[in-house]
């Protein structure tokens, strides 16, 4: 119980949350998963997902990081780190390359949010679907994309995923169910609903995950998608990356609710708040929601609390927040550091193992960027390709 109190205090401090919360956790270091349900100092053991209802203000639940067990196979732990580290490094390279004038367009970096895409996508099958956002590199990497094609696309080269037509904001890889980044904030919700509908109709057991931001949660499409998915019991999982800012506006200045996950109440589906900087916590939350969806239980709404470390886009003057705020967040709550600390403390992985992964990733990245730089730009005739399947640019008067 004292541990619970500590956790509760921790959450309050970290997320400035003032109301009592549910929290869930797994007993540490045990073989079997034991779920506890914690609310207002009551602990209920062995509860189900979604949790049984107990007295208390049940708005949303919290999966607390830190008490989630590390009883993952070592390969899984390595995979977590590899993915998170790949995202971090890919983004750092993008940052440099953009500032060096090598990348056209806008680039929105995922630095600081790596645990979310990583934890969520680790629960997915290759043929499960995801829809992404303008800040989509992390999702794409976590779903298993080819770094070469990603880098080439971001450079606008013809060897890229979209043959250079999409760029950073429109990467997609249909072969791994990645249905596309989206330049329209909130444009992905309904695409995910449709993919989930298709999965349900075809009884494939696939699920569709929709990533979106705190700002996006105020788009009307959020509501229409949540309601339709819930009314039709579709295998969809809505994952909000609450990074505290929508471009330049701090979360609560434009968003009416303390936790985005509380909005789940309006659709009769589970709403889960999770520490988005703890890959284990994210994984467990996602796993429960994915299992529920696959079993025909319908959609869930997961809110992963995190923080956007970089500007909204590369080049953002960031007039709306202080350097200190950012520095403090990054120093005290970096998802990669969190992971390293945990696995090292628990002796699950060694420093050497982590470093080996880092080296491999760096090499892979070097190769990807070299590939992108060396690739040719699209030829002029490619302009009219890929519009219609029949390809009648002519008829429409180029």
């Amino acid at each position: 119980m004292s541990k619970m109190h500590l956790l509760d205090a921790g959450i309050r401090k970290k997320w400035g949350s003032s109301s009592p919360h549910f929290c869930w956790f797994k007993s540490s270091f045990s073989e079997k998963t034991t779920w506890y349900n914690y609310c207002n100092n009551h602990v209920i053991k062995n509860c189900q997902f979604p949790p049984v209802k107990v007295p208390g203000e049940q708005k949303a639940m919290i999966f607390v990081g830190g008490v989630i067990s590390l009883d993952f196979p070592r390969e899984q732990l390595k995979a977590f780190y590899r993915t998170m580290y790949t995202i971090r490094s890919f983004e750092e390279r993008c940052n440099e390359l953009f500032l060096a004038g090598k990348i056209p367009g806008f680039v929105h970096l995922y630095i600081g949010e790596e645990a979310i895409a990583t934890g969520v996508c680790a629960t997915l099958r290759k043929d499960d679907f995801i829809t992404s956002t303008h800040r989509g590199h992390g999702h794409t990497i976590a779903k298993g994309a080819d770094l070469k094609k990603m880098a080439a696309e971001i450079f606008g080269k013809s060897t890229g995923y979209c043959r250079g037509k999409g760029g950073s904001m429109h990467i997609a890889d249909f072969s791994i169910g990645m249905l596309g980044a989206n330049g329209v904030v909130g444009g992905g919700y309904n695409l995910a609903v449709g993919a989930a509908l298709a999965a349900k109709m075809r009884k494939t057991g696939q699920v569709a995950v929709c990533f979106f931001g705190d700002g996006a949660s105020n788009r009307g499409t959020f509501h229409e998608a949540m309601n339709m998915a819930a009314a039709f019991k579709l295998p969809a999982i809505f994952v909000c990356e609450n990074n505290q800012y929508a471009s330049t506006t701090p979360y609560r200045t434009t968003t009416s609710v303390e936790n985005i996950a509380d909005r789940a109440v309006g659709y009769g589906v589970p709403g889960i708040v999770v520490d988005g900087n703890d890959v284990f916590a994210v994984y467990e939350a996602a796993k429960a929601a994915v299992e529920r969806a696959r079993a025909g239980g319908g959609p869930s709404l997961i809110e992963a609390k995190t923080y956007r470390i970089k500007g909204h886009f590369v080049g953002d003057p960031e007039l709306y927040r202080s350097r200190e705020e950012v520095r403090e967040r990054f120093e005290t709550d970096d998802p990669l550091k969190n992971f390293r600390k945990q696995v090292l403390a628990a002796n699950q992985l060694t420093k050497g193992e982590l470093e080996e992964i880092e080296e491999q990733v760096q090499e892979e990245l070097n190769a990807a960027i070299a590939f992108a730089e060396e690739s040719p730009f699209p030829e002029p005739e490619e302009l009219f390709q890929d519009l219609y399947v029949e390809g009648w640019g002519e008829a429409c008067g180029k």
């Binding site: 979209c162 249905l179 596309g180 695409l191 993919a195 339709m228 519009l387 429409c396």
Partner: protein, 323 residues
């Protein structure tokens, strides 16, 4: 040939394509329990179940967006927009998603979605339930746009639309649903992008489509009594435009009038006029006249509504002004 209504013809097209391909389904408001507000879906859920004929929430962005998503995941969805007036609600899904996805993603996917949208003024439904909005989509690369004027084309174009791997907007005029006409049974496809000369003539070309085509034909008949032989073309497809048929006729007659129900300003008539003035102006012997709705929202009063809409007399007058 047996005669059936326009609504039945679309039903037949739906049923045949749903039979033929289990990836085809339809969703929209009030289509299953009710059979569609114009009866155009009656009996369909009984044949294919409420899982393939889906009554949705009043959520146009979800209807269109989910159809696009389902298409990306391997289905061939048909969406019903209830009234075209509400396509405005899903405009982002139509323009920024449905139309662009294939190109933007470098041809990685196809987007076989059909969006059916009943349009047009019919008996004082007023400003928000009477519009024709097809011309906006001439301006949106990535879409195909069809708009039948009779039961046979309704069937043939809908079947082609459902089989198209590209997204198709299918506009159907409310006033046509009860129109009867001969419709081939079974397999019958009308190609997208092909106009039809529905009346041959030598003196002037009248281009029209959808419900207004019938006004154009009436005008042509009246003109024939005065010795003016009008050639009448039913565009059937707006994107792509069948310039071949259009140009052949204008080259023959030397005069061009375009008539449609939507607002004249910025209408399909503007595009047709511009294409002709750009590519074959030398064949013209007079001004290109456009007939369309007047430049106001559609008024409710039965005393005003007909004045706002283009009528047979307006087409006749336009032809005479052009000659």
């Amino acid at each position: 040939m047996r005669e059936i209504t326009f609504a039945e013809a679309t039903m037949e097209a739906m049923a045949e394509e749903m039979e033929r391909d289990e990836r085809v389904f339809i969703m929209g408001e009030d289509i299953a329990r009710q059979g569609g507000i114009f009866g155009q879906f009656k009996g369909l859920p009984q044949k294919f179940g409420f899982e393939r004929v889906i009554d949705t929430p009043i959520s146009e962005t979800a209807i269109v967006g989910a159809c696009v998503g389902a298409a990306l995941a391997g289905m061939r969805p048909v969406a019903d927009m209830h009234f075209v007036d509400f396509i405005t609600v899903a405009m982002d899904e139509v323009v920024n998603q449905m139309a662009k996805i294939r190109y933007m993603f470098g041809g990685q996917c196809t987007v076989p979605v059909v969006l059916r949208a009943p349009d047009g003024a019919a008996r004082s439904a007023a400003a928000q339930h009477s519009q024709c909005l097809e011309s906006w989509f001439v301006h949106v690369p990535g879409l195909k746009v069809v708009i039948p004027s009779n039961p046979a084309d309704a069937k043939g174009l809908l079947k082609s639309a459902i089989r198209s791997d590209d997204p198709v907007l299918y506009f159907e005029h409310k006033d046509l649903f009860r129109m009867k006409g001969p419709v081939p049974e079974g397999e019958f496809l009308v190609p997208i992008g092909k106009a039809k000369v529905v009346r041959e003539g030598t003196d002037v070309t009248i281009v029209s489509y959808s419900a207004t085509l019938h006004k154009a034909l009436k005008a042509a008949e009246a003109l024939a009594h005065e010795g003016i032989q009008a050639e009448v073309i039913d565009l059937r497809s707006i994107v792509p435009l069948d310039k071949e048929t259009l140009f052949a006729s204008v080259k023959k007659t030397g005069y061009l009038v375009i008539a449609h129900e939507s607002t004249k300003n910025g209408g399909v008539g503007s595009e047709v006029a511009a294409v002709v003035a750009e590519e074959i102006i030398e064949y013209l012997d007079g001004p290109i006249k456009r007939v369309g709705a007047k430049f106001v929202p559609i008024p409710f009063s039965p005393a005003l509504e007909p004045l706002m809409l283009p009528q047979v007399e307006d087409i006749i007058a336009a032809v005479k002004e052009s000659l």
